[in-house]
């Protein structure tokens, strides 16, 4: 077991994609630790391996080489089903394009992760209502997603990522599709979740202003960490 309070420990992660005959090294040896309660931004130009790293941390993908420990458990060798369980219990995702189910209500969208865990219908409702209240959507639970603004949709997405009480929240360009004012509001929510609920948050962003609110910033280039900044 881990002696310290590292939530995430990455050991020499490599990811190699084969495109026909050529090999693409999306990650070429990333080692890094993230402590519980941290708020981290991953930055870098496109093609630097940000998304690949996020996918691996988010248990959507497995590294070709290297080890990834989440809460002390090695998850880099788990099979698809076990990874799905971990995504369900420990990780929440927020995407640039919100990725909500169309023509369904905010409540139903928020309940979605609970559908895949053994939660009773009553608990599901309670947890989803609570989660929506946290992101400031009280009273709008039964609105359909197409009746909500972009900012509100992203709030639903955050509520959905929170509903299972995950230990890790991953946000991929969460403000990318929003205007700057709404973007700031969303970032405030992340900050609040981090400081009040002590949820570990990892953001991928291009926006240095957004990145300023984080504790640490990691710069990636050509699949390697080239720089780290701390506030």
């Amino acid at each position: 077991m881990e002696s310290n309070n590292n939530l995430i420990r990455l050991e020499d992660l490599k990811k190699i994609y084969k495109v026909g005959e050529t090999q693409v090294n999306a990650l070429s040896g990333v080692s890094y630790n993230i402590k519980e309660g941290d708020l981290v931004a991953i930055m870098g130009p496109s093609g630097s391996g940000k998304s690949t790293l996020m996918n691996i941390i988010g248990c959507l993908d497995r590294p070709t080489e290297g080890k990834y420990f989440l809460e002390g458990e090695e998850v880099s060798t788990l099979d698809k089903n076990k990874l799905a369980r971990i995504r369900n219990k420990k990780i929440g995702f927020v995407f640039q394009t919100f990725n909500l189910l169309a023509r369904t209500t905010a409540l139903e969208n928020t309940e979605l992760p609970l559908l895949y865990s053994s939660t009773s219908k009553k608990e599901m409702m309670e947890m989803a209502y609570e989660s929506l209240a946290i992101v400031g959507l009280k009273g709008r639970e039964l609105h359909k997603t197409n009746q909500l603004s972009g900012g509100e949709q992203q709030r639903v997405a955050i509520a959905r990522s929170l509903v299972n009480n995950p230990s890790l929240l991953l946000a991929d360009e969460p403000t990318g599709n929003l205007d700057s004012k709404t973007g700031k509001e969303i970032m405030e929510i992340f900050k609040k979740l981090n400081s009040e609920k002590k949820i570990t948050i990892i953001l991928v962003t291009h926006d240095s202003e957004v990145a300023q609110i984080t504790h640490r910033r990691i710069y990636l280039k050509d699949g390697q960490i080239i720089k780290e900044e701390q506030n």
Binding site: K80, L112, L115
Partner: protein, 405 residues
């Protein structure tokens, strides 16, 4: 994810595309409807045939002289001249599974009454003929044992003969001439209607077989024996007993072939039912093909649906749906679609068979069995044709699925 929740998710997805779901299910609806309707027509026809044979008597047996043809039904009569009235008497005395016997001879003859004449079948039978054939006399009386023994010239007319010769006038007590020999009419048989298309049973005259032997044919043998078993259950036993008695009567060495043939009405009825079954299977087969086509339609639409919802699948996977959760979701959608189609198809089939009954006047019979089979079959169609699209959906990579535009 429990089953009920999955079904709810599936139903919601289907209702989101009502028109498409309906059109997809249409293949199954028509297929199941066709199966139910054709089977109901077949069952109805079968029931009708059974009813006719029942009316004739399922405990009915015939003894005919043997012949070279295997079944001896068509080429049989007259190939051998070896059935005697004494054989009939022996059967009645020695076989306890036998209830009534009627030695029988037949011929065709011109029948004359006044200035009218009619060519018809003449049957020489015993007084037990109405009992064996379950055929009542509508008007007048049937001849009795004494009249048979004495060979009296009395005749009982079939209803059609009565109509043609007497045209509504009272025939009882009138004298008709059969081959110029006068017979007095003592009764008219009730109308039976067409029988299986072989002959019109109402177009015949029955007279004592003794009279027919002596006056019309000039023979001492008989051509066949009509026999009724004590009950339907004992017909097989009766056949065995009759065969045993006749082998002794005809002094047939052990191992040698019978020179007579005993046939069983139940068997003939089964034969008729079998030929109906072939027809039902043929129609049912065609209907099954349309179910198959319906299934392919479901597979097609489910594949489209999976492609359309790749992103949804990605979202579900990212929040923790496992492969089997996705597989079940899409499989259940296909099953719900085809089972709903099946239920609507059953209603359509029942409605269609009712309509056929009313319009064509055929008897139809929707059996519970065919409804249950159709229901489960549509479910199986859903599973079989829904599996491939669902499997494809479950094997999607969550990252690619999330990025899919």
């Amino acid at each position: 994810m429990n089953i009920l929740r999955t079904i709810r998710v599936a139903l919601r997805a289907l209702f989101r595309n009502k028109m498409r779901s309906l059109l997809t299910a249409l293949g199954i609806i028509i297929g199941v409807g066709a199966v139910i309707a054709t089977v109901s027509i077949g069952q109805g026809a079968k029931r009708e045939v059974e009813k006719r044979f029942d009316a004739m008597g399922t405990n009915l047996l015939f003894v005919r002289p043997g012949s070279r043809s295997f079944r001896g039904r068509h080429g049989g009569g007259g190939t051998y001249v070896n059935l005697m009235p004494s054989d009939a008497k022996a059967i009645l005395e020695k076989c306890d599974a036998v209830q009534y016997i009627s030695p029988s001879v037949s011929t065709r003859a011109q029948v004359v009454y006044g200035n009218k004449n009619w060519n018809t079948s003449i049957y020489g039978v015993s007084d037990k003929y109405p009992d064996i054939r379950k055929w009542a006399v509508e008007d007048g009386i049937f001849f009795d044992e004494n009249q048979v023994r004495a060979g009296q010239k009395v005749a009982v007319l079939g209803s059609e003969v009565n109509e043609n010769l007497f045209e509504g006038a009272d025939p009882i007590g009138q004298i008709i001439r059969i081959k110029k020999i006068p017979f007095s009419v003592i009764g008219v048989l009730e109308e039976k209607g067409e029988s299986g298309g072989w002959f019109n049973r109402d177009d015949q005259i029955v007279i004592p077989y003794t009279t027919a032997q002596r006056r019309l044919l000039g023979i001492i043998h008989i051509q066949s024996i009509d026999i009724s078993a004590v009950s339907m259950e004992r017909t097989t036993e009766a056949v065995e007993q009759i065969e045993e008695v006749l082998r002794i009567q005809h002094k047939i060495a052990p191992g040698a072939e019978d020179d007579f043939n005993v046939s069983n009405m139940a068997e003939i009825a089964e034969g008729a039912a079998e030929s109906r079954d072939v027809l039902i299977f043929l129609l049912g087969g065609i209907a099954c093909v349309s179910l198959l086509v319906g299934g392919i339609g479901i597979m097609n639409i489910m594949l489209v649906s999976v492609t359309e919802r790749i992103r949804e699948i990605g979202i579900r996977m990212s929040v923790g749906a496992r492969e089997k959760d996705i597989l079940f979701q899409f499989l259940l959608e296909a099953i719900v679609l085809s089972v709903l189609g099946g239920v609507l198809g059953i209603l359509l089939g029942v409605g269609a068979s009712r309509l056929i009954s009313i319009i064509a006047g055929w008897q139809t019979l929707v059996s519970n069995f065919s409804v249950v089979v159709a229901f489960f079959f549509s479910g199986i169609v859903g599973i079989v044709f829904g599996f491939f699209p669902a499997f494809k959906a479950s094997k999607l990579d969550p990252i690619d699925a999330l990025r899919y535009e």
